[in-house]
Symmetry: C2
Subunit: 206 residues, 2 copies
């Protein structure tokens, strides 16, 4: 689609720039790369290079027009159409993610949750449907779902992962604390919250 020529590390920072620009007060019609770098505590040279890759050079002494820069960032991040996602495992974390609507600002819409526990399914969720896992494949096919989020426990994560792959899912975001195997061509992002905390704790203990 787009973004081909942008290095992976740059791409990883684009949502951060986008979020920063969106949160700026409306009075900022233009902003310099230096100001953005300062606001985000990033290096000046890095920000300058990143923004040049998506929006060309800023105007001397003026910088970037905020709205145009937001548009360029959105385009490069493929935010022009929402990607439909499903979540499997409607426990506490799963339900918290189902309720979080901030993902839509980042191009992803969680359209439904799935769970194998009939009670959880019946309990439902105020903001999103929770459906029985047996409906997963049909649902994903009907709703052109390309992204799956796994919030089940470690014991059933690989099984859920396989079901998602069978349902045509092309990218998986896994919160279960285990390494999943996916076929070539399926993207996998491992999220390990405990690991993030462990790392912070380690820096603290030094």
């Amino acid at each position: 689609m787009n973004g081909y020529s942008i290095p992976k590390a740059t791409l990883g920072r684009l949502p951060q720039y986008l979020e920063y620009l969106r949160n700026l007060s409306e009075s900022h019609r233009t902003i310099s790369a230096t100001a953005i770098a300062k606001g985000l505590s990033l290096g000046d040279v890095q920000v300058r290079k990143d923004l040049a890759a998506v929006s060309g050079a800023g105007k001397p002494k003026v910088g970037y027009e905020r709205d145009k820069l937001i548009g360029d960032l959105e385009r490069h991040l493929g935010y022009e159409r929402l990607t439909n996602a499903v979540l499997v495992g409607a426990g506490k974390l799963g339900r918290a993610l189902l309720d979080y609507d901030g993902f839509e600002d980042f191009g992803v819409k969680i359209v439904a949750g799935f769970d194998c526990n009939e009670q959880v399914v019946q309990m439902g969720n105020p903001s999103k449907s929770i459906l029985p896992i047996k409906n997963l494949k049909a649902y994903c096919e009907e709703n052109d779902v390309k992204l799956g989020i796994i919030t089940v426990g470690q014991g059933s994560a690989q099984d859920v992962c396989d079901k998602l792959v069978e349902s045509g899912i092309e990218a998986i975001w896994n919160f279960a604390p285990c390494t999943l195997k996916v076929p070539l061509g399926v993207l996998l992002k491992q999220e390990n919250l405990a690991l993030s905390l462990a790392y912070l704790n380690n820096q603290l203990c030094k």
Copy 2:
């Protein structure tokens, strides 16, 4: 304390090795760096170097004794005593984190949650106390709390952050989607779940 001589990037991978070794079946009394590298889809050379930094070289043709390697990893990660943490903002995500007991395996114990909403405080949580925010400072001082987790919204995150710093907190794990300012010497780890998802989505859209 320890871990001084280990590069930051290595340190970041140690919890992953630890988790992998803990999850191995008991029948694996020894394991080679190559097998660990394969299991985690990491480079052989990298794993070999990382493990050498914490536990010396493995025995030729045998590798490492699993239990000793686990012990060495735990020691280097400072897991010998639990760090007490508090969480502020007992919404859905906050409550999910309060209930998650996996953090203790990684050296951190969330001892209490805090919220400014009196109703949330009264509702409580099955696994952990939820206390009014006005008690934060006294609680942190009494319980030697060094780590604070922020799961409030963007609007009150800086205020909560300042309160944590005043309460003697030395490391902050922030889930609010905004850049916080902390005094020099206070560690800050920004967790942006939407950003992780955005990045996965972008790879998918290419």
